[in-house]
Amino acid sequence: MKRLKNHVRELREALGLTQAELAKRTGVSRQAINAIETGKYDPSIWLAYALAKTFGRAIEDVFVFEEGGRI
């Protein structure tokens, strides 16, 4: 099964933020940010929105849904 891919790490590093700083801005733990970046955890739509808003991007710029992905 293909995964939901994301550009959280690249966008975070482009802003010069640490995982802890991004976690603080989005209201989650650093572990949650790490789990999202490593693809171990797919965030809720609420968190996806908070992340996209923090990066100043649309959700689909941050998260990439692949064709034939989740069943």
């Binding site: 989005t26 209201g27 989650v28 733990s29 572990q31 949650a32 790490n34 789990a35 171990k40 955890y41 965030p43 809720s44 609420w46 968190l47 908070a50």
Partner: protein, 135 residues
Amino acid sequence: MNRPNKLRKVYLWYLILTGELVCAAIIICAGYVADPDWRMIIRAAGIVGAVIAPAMIWVLYRWVRRDNSDTSDELEQMVLIRSLAVTGLASITLIPVLLLLAFLLPAYAGFAVFGFTVVVWGTFKLTTFILYRKY
């Protein structure tokens, strides 16, 4: 995302209340111990436990929650939900074993219940630990 919740605090009070219940059960059951010395020792242990358990649980809670937050985020909630699911499966699976042991060996029913509790709680704590490590 941190949607408003106080799940950690709810869990803290749940642990304190169950701890007090266990201590109350120890104090009550101590009255049935035949040996007077052991009766006194077990009753004293129950009373001491009832007094210090809330403080110990509170200190542990604040120590584990280094961020000092009462709110859990969605990853932590997912971990707890999965742990509870595994625990529920384990307890449902083991209930027939518990009933069989309790009916076939009534003299050891107390031990069977104790073992069941240890296995179920152990499953929950172990699953939580493994999932926290995973993420």
